[in-house]
Symmetry: C2
Subunit: 175 residues, 2 copies
């Protein structure tokens, strides 16, 4: 996971991976059919979250506050970790030659989308989030925008884009 997050799917070889794991290269294929098969499992694992995603569904906290806390936690994480997001990197690399990765990315995007959409829908019911946009659409938009912001942080070598994301989203899109 560490190597794939740092370098992306095409940026590291099975040999890089077995060297980092200090195991013989041949043993890799006892466990995984291909580099793609390993990468697909890693996408699922990574999708469980770099931060505590249960923040999003804590029923004791108002929905808008949960969304703010979720992105604040992500900002904190991605401001420290300069490697970017494995999901965003793999999204940029996915092609018809990597159908397994594509399938797992779809699944992670759907899970993240449902978690955020549920919080948005609750906020809409609670009257704290605008109701003229569908919760699902808005959730997908937020995920895409955040992935784009993470990409920029690595080019600018600055977490500024993550702060703008929070500022723009919570001052205009959401409310």
């Amino acid at each position: 996971m560490k190597l794939f997050t740092e370098r992306g799917f095409n940026g590291c070889s099975v040999q890089d991976i077995t060297e980092a794991a200090v195991v013989p290269k041949g043993s890799f294929y006892n466990h995984f059919k291909s580099k793609e098969a390993l990468a697909a499992e890693i996408v699922t694992e990574y999708g469980k979250g770099s931060t505590d995603r249960s923040i999003l569904n804590n029923p004791e906290v108002p929905a808008l506050t949960r969304l703010k806390r979720h992105f604040a936690a992500l900002n904190e994480y991605f401001s420290r970790c300069n490697d970017g997001c494995l999901v965003g990197k793999f999204m940029a690399e996915v092609s018809d030659e990597t159908p397994l990765i594509r399938e797992m990315l779809l699944s992670v995007l759907n899970v993240w989308g449902e978690q955020i959409s549920a919080a948005i829908a609750e906020g809409q019911e609670q009257g704290t989030i605008r109701t003229d946009l569908k919760a699902d659409d808005l959730a997908a938009f937020l995920i895409d925008s955040y992935e784009g912001a993470i990409l920029r942080t690595r080019v600018e070598k600055s977490p500024k884009a993550l702060k703008y994301f929070v500022k723009v989203v919570f001052s205009s899109i959401i409310v």
Copy 2:
């Protein structure tokens, strides 16, 4: 440009490039110091736009209309071209080992940012764009969000995310 856009920086080799160009591999190094040197020049070329960016500064059209037309043209382009955006892909791959690419990406992001920011600032003066967000911040946010949406289209094999982008942006952020 075609190969890099399809496969990203790490996804193609100098040999892939010289084969596609039907030239001997050795001749590559008469023209470019490295694959990175070629890629950096291509970023600059690509940054001139897949679509006509002069839409953004046509003084005869109201600024908000220009922004809408710009993203409509991009949507039209990226709905047809399934390879995604070279800049977004390179943003995902950039690392300390590719400082030339990073520098050229920064420069393209700045040019795009200035073009969009100028239109936003004009729209703010014309009273059609909200003034509580800084034009520069909003421009960077729009670029990042759009790059993220393009990434999703390749995972979903659908241009849906591009339509959501336009819907969310022009119904909330901008006005």
